[in-house]
Symmetry: C2
Subunit: 119 residues, 2 copies
Amino acid sequence: MEPYKLFDAEYKFACLIWDNEPINSTDLVKLSQTKLGWKKSTTYTVLRKLCERGILKNEQAMVTAIIKKTDAQKYESQTVVEKAFNGSLPQFLTAFLGEKKLSEEEAEELKRIIEEATR
Amino acid sequence: MEPYKLFDAEYKFACLIWDNEPINSTDLVKLSQTKLGWKKSTTYTVLRKLCERGILKNEQAMVTAIIKKTDAQKYESQTVVEKAFNGSLPQFLTAFLGEKKLSEEEAEELKRIIEEATR
DNA sequence: AAGTGAGGTTTATTACAATAAACTTATCGA
DNA sequence: TCGATAAGTTTATTGTAATAAACCTCACTT
């Protein structure tokens, strides 16, 4: 398995931790119950798997993330561009935008991000 | 199942059809063999499923796509942006680019695409 | 000392993606 | 008319994601 690969359920769960860390495991069980509808055992099962894969950490009932959210996101973004767009960001953008129209502000923001990444 | 959702194996297979349609089913079996390493029965199984889901069509042993590649790509791109970036394209772009640097030409191309989508 | 809650683990269950073996039926050329 | 080939279908197998029931152990409280 690639290091940062998170399945859908895992990703949602990891988001709870990214947004709330450090979080006590009992509190995380409650949070998963309300946010995801998970039972306690489900939470611990998924938690342990993500710990084994080096993505999260659970020490003295305190859960934190080892992998940063931005790294998981980078992985997600690059995976889809490779898989479905032959690695081409322009192709991705074209497909994503489709017939959608951007406002001036949105366009400016995107161009700023691109500018930022241009040497 | 959402209409355009294609699993990994299905997406690769659909690409063969998009790139070669219209294609005779026997030829498609051969193509899947060489490109994906699939047996004949695998090809027909996946083909039938995609036909049932209204994504492909197989009539008189002639296989064509009903859903266009661009539509499947649009779905893929929007799905990942929603799932992992809270629907925010700027967040996606930021994560994708990371520390990567763009050349002048790449930046120009991206800005052109954005310009195009700006009313 | 017995009950209770925190903090887990062990073991299952279910669903379905991925792949294919084995069988069928029809056509067509030798 | 028989054997090959095309064009499929039926039925399995395997792996694993998603979810959870049932159990365990320890510390603390009553």
